[in-house]
Each structure stands twice: as structure tokens, then as C-alpha cells.
């Protein structure tokens, strides 16, 4: 009903403001990726798992599960070199997709997982 929708929108607006306050314009770019269902959660039979995010350019980047690492150029430049950001939009999109249950799921073989973890840009 209208009252509930208003409350939800208000809540969303508050969360978005907080995200934007912490992450700046990156928050919007990350939410775009979530909207496009760009985050792929990949698992293999042995239990190893990782994430692949399709960026706005169409390239796919690998984000590891246990620590902040993304194979995209922005992570290398802004996070590692300039140290002016905690993470890139792809890692933020992984966090947001996890929280919103918006990850796509993919099962691969243990052997295929090796190639994905090597994180050669696709």
C-alpha cells in the first residue's frame, strides 16, 4: 500500500545517501552494475568460489572472495597506486549484490575455476 511504499522509498533514500556519502559517485556506478545483474557468483564442486563482474565496457573482472582484489584498471590506479579509494565499483557491486541477493549464480568445474582465479581480463 501507499504508506509502506513511502516508508520503503524513504529507507532506500537514506541508504543511498549514506552510500553516496561514503563512496561518492562510485556508489551510483556500483548500483548500476547491480541493476544490470552484472555480478556473477561462481562456485566449483570443491567449494571454492569467486566473483566476476561485467563492467560498463563489457569486460569482465575477477574479484576474490576473501580479500579486496579486482583485476580492473581502476583498482590498480585508485586503490593501489593513489590510495584514494578503499575499493573499486566492481567490489562495491559485489557487496551490494550479496546484500540484495542480486548475484547471478554459475557452477563451473574445479579445473575451470583455476582459469577464472588467474583473473586474466576477458
Amino acid at each position: 500500500n501507499a504508506v509502506d511504499l513511502g516508508a520503503v522509498l524513504e529507507q532506500f533514500s537514506l541508504v543511498f545517501c549514506r552510500l553516496k556519502f561514503i563512496f561518492g559517485p562510485m556508489a551510483l556506478h556500483a548500483l548500476d552494475l547491480v541493476d544490470l545483474r552484472s555480478v556473477l557468483h561462481i562456485t566449483s564442486p570443491c567449494g571454492r568460489s569467486t566473483y566476476q563482474v561485467t563492467g560498463s565496457s563489457g569486460k569482465t573482472y575477477t574479484c576474490y572472495k576473501s580479500c579486496h582484489y579486482c583485476s580492473c584498471p581502476a583498482f590498480i590506479f585508485s586503490v593501489l597506486r593513489k590510495n584514494d579509494s578503499m575499493l573499486c565499483k566492481h567490489i562495491l557491486a559485489v557487496y551490494l549484490s550479496q546484500a540484495m541477493g542480486a548475484c547471478q549464480e554459475l557452477s563451473v568445474s574445479d579445473q575451470q575455476m583455476c582459469d577464472i582465479l588467474l583473473a586474466k581480463d576477458g
Binding site: 576474490y64 572472495k65 579486496h68 593501489l80 582465479l117
Partner: protein
């Protein structure tokens, strides 16, 4: 503090020719339990990590005994019998490091699997396929990370290797210790990225004030708080001796 390295230091401190851990409750050569509850070095499990503690980066100059300490950690992990131990290094070990403490059972060494990836790409390939190993490794050690990170490489290479090491150790729920020679000219280059992945670090740096035998070099051992806690003597033949600083320099206590 990293539990596994503490156990190594305690074991080496028990060596009859080295100075044993002094004080109430400290281990002694006759003491079967190297770390008792009232020992000056307490080895407690840190929440969120297994008995081996958090991943550890061991930093120190060349020939400061890092390989010996890592090998000792591998022997101790193998003796626990929880599974194979993976020891990664770019260059094959010419001989078993003479740490001053050998494996209790020679068959223990068979539990240590030595892998010598020659290039960073080969190292990444090994790390990305560790989940295929059966039985699952119980401990992961990388000796000489700097040999995979030439000065011409950038932080991306340092970050990729570090992150894949952590991801593999996290998946395998195993201990991880990495040794490296830090760059002499500050924190630029690939190492800038490595250190951010390893908040728990142990640093070896030359000790200038202690009298050492002519054949030995001395290094302070300090964990993340930069206060040296032990002194390590490295003899020319690679044998290691550990001296707790309180026992070495009573005036400091």
C-alpha cells in the same frame, strides 16, 4: 601475533646451545611442551583464524635466516600431521636449512611438498590450482616473494600474488607465511601493495649492539608493534639461535 612463528621461536629457543626462554614457566630443553600457559610467549588462537594464526609476512634482509625460519615452520606444521605442507620458492633449496632443530621423524619431511615456480605467472598458476590438491594442504609457505616481484613490476603484480595467496589460504583454511626482502628505497613499487594485504608482519633487522660470535650475524625480531622481542643469531652454516631480549639484556627489563 602469529602463532606459528611463535612456536618456531620457542622451539629454537629450546636448542641446548641457544639461550632457552627464561623465567617462570618458560620452556626448557627437557620440557615437552614448548609453550606453557604461563610462558612469557603465549600462543593463543586468534578469533577468526585456525591454530596457525593469521597470515604472516616475514620481512628481513638477505641471509637473515628467513628461509630457515620458514622451513622450521614447515617442519612443525608437518609434525602436527594435519595434512601436506606446501613450500613455495623460486629457487630450489640446495640443502635442508640447518636450523638447529631437525624433524623428530625423518618421514615428516615427506609431508612437505616443495614447489619451485620459476616465474610470477607460474606461481599464480600454482596458487590458482591449490584447491585441486588432494589431500588438502594444511599449511602454505612462500619463501622469497621479492624474487617474483622485480623492481620493474608494479603494485598490480604484488597485489595479485598477495590476494591469490590469501584467497587460497582462506579456502583451504590453512596457515600462511610469506617471507620477503623489503625494498631498500622505501615503499614504492610492487611492495607498496603487498604490505596492505598482510597486516600481521614480523620484521628482522640487524642488531648492532649485541656481542655476537664472529661467525654469526644478529637480527632483532619484532612483530607489528616494532618493539624487538627476540634476537636471532644466524651462523655461517645457516644454523639459527634465538635469544629472548629480556634474557639477553637484563638492563632493559
Amino acid at each position: 601475533m602469529a602463532q606459528v612463528l611463535c612456536r618456531v621461536l620457542c622451539e629454537l629457543g629450546k636448542h641446548p646451545r641457544g639461550c632457552c626462554l627464561q623465567g617462570p614457566g618458560a620452556g626448557s630443553p627437557q620440557d615437552p611442551d614448548p609453550v606453557r600457559k604461563d610462558s612469557p610467549i603465549s600462543v593463543q588462537e586468534e578469533p577468526g583464524y585456525g591454530p596457525q594464526g593469521p597470515p604472516l609476512l616475514l620481512l628481513g634482509p638477505s641471509r637473515s635466516g628467513k628461509s630457515g625460519l620458514l622451513f622450521m615452520a614447515a617442519v612443525l606444521a608437518a609434525e602436527e600431521g594435519a595434512g601436506p605442507v606446501i613450500f613455495l620458492s623460486r629457487d630450489p633449496l640446495q640443502k635442508v636449512p640447518g636450523t638447529g632443530r631437525t624433524a623428530r621423524d625423518p618421514l615428516t619431511l615427506k609431508q612437505i611438498r616443495f614447489l619451485y615456480p620459476a616465474t610470477p605467472e607460474e606461481l599464480l598458476r600454482q596458487l590458482s590450482s591449490l584447491h585441486l590438491a588432494s589431500p588438502s594442504p594444511s599449511f602454505l609457505l612462500l619463501d622469497g616473494l621479492e624474487r617474483y616481484l622485480p623492481p620493474c613490476s608494479g603494485p598490480a603484480e604484488g597485489a595479485h600474488i598477495s590476494a591469490l595467496l590469501l584467497d587460497a589460504a582462506s579456502h583451504l583454511r590453512c596457515g600462511l607465511v610469506v617471507s620477503a626482502v623489503p625494498p631498500a628505497d622505501g615503499t614504492e613499487g610492487p611492495f607498496m601493495a603487498v604490505e596492505r594485504y598482510f597486516p600481521t608482519r614480523c620484521q628482522l633487522y640487524p642488531e648492532m649492539t649485541t656481542d655476537v660470535e664472529e661467525t654469526a650475524a644478529a637480527y632483532n625480531i619484532a612483530f607489528s608493534n616494532y618493539l624487538p622481542e627476540w634476537i636471532l643469531h644466524v651462523q655461517e652454516d645457516g644454523k639459527l639461535k634465538i635469544f629472548p631480549i629480556k634474557a639477553q639484556r637484563p638492563a632493559d627489563t
